[in-house]
């Protein structure tokens, strides 16, 4: 893939942790790739796998789900539930011939602005390596 390929990422960020980290990264004027668009959710545990599947089938190159570290969920256990759901989803994707490595689940606390910026950077790089999501060109899905 040519180096000017810019992957698109949709991220679902928990409002208490990763969204705050993203906000802080902005306030702190951190530099990181602009490839990730953010959809704020109340908790990583509220991310319905369908929300992940929809953009992937539409051709988005990656989906990032960001939540609080295990044990730190603002809602006690939402991230543990999210972890099971996303693990199951990734198994399904891999099992039916879709690329589960386009889905990232990351624990990033509100304090970890740097980690957020780093995660987006890494994900962008990884997706650049992978190249375009083949679904982008498939109309019969």
């Amino acid at each position: 893939m040519t180096s000017d390929f810019e992957p698109r990422i949709i991220s679902f960020l928990c409002t208490w942790c990763t969204y705050t980290a993203a906000d802080t990264a902005g306030i702190s004027r951190m530099r990181y790739p602009p490839n990730a668009d953010i959809i704020r959710v109340m908790c990583s545990g509220s991310v319905d796998p369908t929300y992940v599947l929809r953009p992937l089938l539409d051709g988005v190159d990656g989906v990032l789900i960001g939540g609080c570290h295990p044990g730190d969920c603002h809602y006690q256990s939402g991230n543990y539930k999210a972890r099971r759901r996303i693990v199951a989803l990734k198994m399904i994707l891999d099992s039916v011939g879709l690329d589960d490595e386009r889905v990232w689940l990351r624990w990033i606390s509100g304090a970890e602005a740097g980690r957020y910026a780093e995660t987006v950077t890494q994900m962008t790089e990884a997706l650049k390596e992978k190249g375009l999501n083949p679904m982008r060109q498939k109309w019969a899905v």
Partner: protein, 374 residues
Amino acid sequence: MRTVIPVENDDTLAAVRGFLRRLLEEQIVDALLVPMETPAGGGRIGVVPALVTDPGMLDAANPLAPVMGVNTARVAGQVSIREPRGRVGVVLRSCEVRALVELAKLHQAELDDLVIIGLDCLGTYDVPVHGTMQDDGALDMAALLATARSGDLAPREGYAFRSACQMCEKPHAEGADITLELFGADLTAGVPVTLPDEVGEKLGLGSEGEDGQRSEVVEKVVSVRTEVRDDRFAEIREQLDQEGIDVVFAACVRCHNCMDVCPICYCKQCLFRSHVFQHEPIQYLNWARRKGAYRLPSDTMLFHLTRLNHMVLSCIGCGMCTSACPAELPVDLVFRATGARLQEGFDYVPGRSVEEPLPLITFREDEWLDVGGE
């Protein structure tokens, strides 16, 4: 206790009917949910589940018929879920027992007043095949029942069992209250049955006979079937890896039949038939513009992937989806192969026990620690 229902004149079916009748007569159950024979036109006999309260009507019961039109667990839920209700005996094949256990966990069935009468399954035909075989005079119950003794299960030459049955590695009934243990038995002599002591006493049955050949025969059947299953899994996995689900399911007509017949898909109305997926006209246009063309009805792969996501951990492999698919897609294979992967991953065996919680409603703090980039 374990006992044997005596068979007279080699008529195994009559003996089974007689046993079921006694359950009603002795008021062990108020009603029986059991497959019943009914004229199906053109001289064919159809076999469909019915709720029977009159012992006299059981002359038409035929739980041994090698045909499966619906997964009876779905209707077992309907007769049990709320009070007032009767005490109902449900005659189920092994895969139906497993489906019922999953439905109980999903609060779509209530096991308290159900008496599960499980049946070792010798294999079933699709409804149209069952019809054709009758036309051809090829339906030979005695020959089929004879296979139970050795475990060399096979369809009548020239016909095929349903796809799911061909790779069914759990044909033996487990987890039932009363079990008709066909495997390993000479069914012309008697039908072995295990049942609670108090039921046996009420029926005036004495303890008789040991497990005999059953476990050996079951082991044999399971090993043969597992081999078939593994070959099929390997094939479909290879195909999915190469082509992707969008190609494998490309011919889907989105009729939702698979979902409608699935015993686990319990939703009153599927999400994909709800307002969430009734898009604005401009939306379709936008999609078409983005990719240059866009398949309609829309969201076909999303439907299958979401259905996988919603139910595949509970998939018990009855294969009704494939039986119902007008496009003859390998739905059961894709779901079973995916299900096997997830069930192993979450250490979950659907249909094993009502006590085992559904994986996605629970969690452990100390699992999947590598997930999340820690």
